[in-house]
């Protein structure tokens, strides 16, 4: 990955992602063919529940973040000089940008986590290293 163009790096990461998805599908098929026991279904349900719980937690946090942003944005009415108005206007935009980028990162992490966790769980079930 060293000193490669950003587009090439991104393409490699995406290619890796596709490989991981492909492996996930193949392993899931293998697991389905083993006639899983009730305990396996319970573990799968637990994994889905934990993922959903994390997603809900993120949404709550984001709602709070946007409420905080709104509170800051409302302070512009109290700006008493031109530099202060310019400063706060700029900050409002930058904070929103940073917040959105952060939320995208957090969501990507959760998707990554769910994918790795599911792959790991299925691999254990089918006895794959």
């Amino acid at each position: 990955m060293k000193n490669q163009h950003i587009a090439l790096a991104a393409a490699q990461v995406q290619s890796t992602q596709v490989q991981r998805c492909s492996t996930m599908v193949q392993d899931t098929v293998k697991l389905a063919m083993t006639q899983p026991d009730p305990g396996t279904f319970a573990e799968a349900a637990e994994l889905a529940r934990a993922t959903t719980e994390q997603a809900i937690g993120l949404q709550k946090q984001w709602a709070q973040d946007w409420a905080n942003w709104m509170a800051y944005a409302s302070t512009i009415s109290g700006a008493d000089t031109i530099p202060k108005i310019a400063d706060r206007s700029s900050n409002i935009v930058l904070q929103a940008q940073a917040q959105m980028a952060n939320q995208v990162t957090q969501m990507s992490e959760l998707v990554d986590n769910a994918m790795v966790s599911y792959n790991f769980w299925v691999a254990q079930k089918i006895g794959k290293d």
Binding site: R20, T23, N113, V116, N119, F120, W121, Q124, D129
Partner: protein
Amino acid sequence: MLDSGVVPLPHYDTQMKHSISGLSSGAFMTVQMHIAHSALFVGAGVIAGGPYRAAETFRGAAPTKPLSCILNSLYIAMTPLTASTAPDVDKLVALAKETPDIDKLDNLAGQRLYIFTGTKDRVVNQHAVRTTVEFYKELGVDPNHIEFVQDVPAGHSIITMNPEDSDLDKNQPPYINRGTFIQSHDILDQIYDHKLAPAADHAEGDLIRFDQSEFYGHAPSQASMAPFAYAYIPSQVRDKAEKAIGVHIVMHGCKQGYDYTNFVNGKADILNQPPYGDRYITTTGYMEKGEANNIILLFPQVGGDDNNAVQNPDGCWDWWGYSSQDEHDPDYYSQKAVQIHAIYKMLKQLGGVPGGKK
């Protein structure tokens, strides 16, 4: 207390009852160091850390080994979604038993451990830390010698009683939270079998700064360690009135080193460095407990780098392979690992190591 001098790391005769503890990446690193050099220690303290080589739990996480280690560390070792996706203890124990270049695992049998996980920890969760307890039990540590605390509503942090520290349930830098006990004291009490005196009111010994680079100088670009580190010499040890019990190594977590700098949009934000400084060293209670019990303290420091040689912007200890010479064959866990080797050399210089150890 800390003057502006940089002194050579001194040597003191000790009883060589050494120990180690850490938080977060410092806790993961504590486990790597503890297992790699188990003959050196009488015990360890792990606050929010996973088991040995946890980053290699599931090789199939990615097609390449380096990426697999990163994904394992993030999603299996730190934030597993469920107990069934946490590190596989049986596999890691087997891996430890076949790991070359580490001390015999039999050394662990008589050792004492403190392991902590907060119920509100969102950075290294309870599923992960519970596997650390199981890992040590499977390696033969007496369950009665393990103090496992998992019922405190703490976020990701070392707990103090300082008014200026964060609320107990927070998961935010500097990861030093205010509770109803001083965690460093509990760690040392557990490791030294509850035979220690209460902490002193003041640390009247010497906090010294030394040049850490001489200990990792053979691989400066890989080590990601800061230029300086610190040691605390209790007053009676300094005055040669008492022989030290040993050296306790204190491993800070990510974003807690003295020179941690936040990276904003990929650029080191040196104009706005967080005011954490030496808080992990001077305000967490280690020095006062060490002072009262003649335990020398060693505070190695990791630095932050974010380039293609070392991707470690948060200044974390290496427990997943970023410092390895060959990223496809990582050696972050053995006595040859650059950071473990450096800390070993510091310990050897400061308090000596048992006979026969090279």
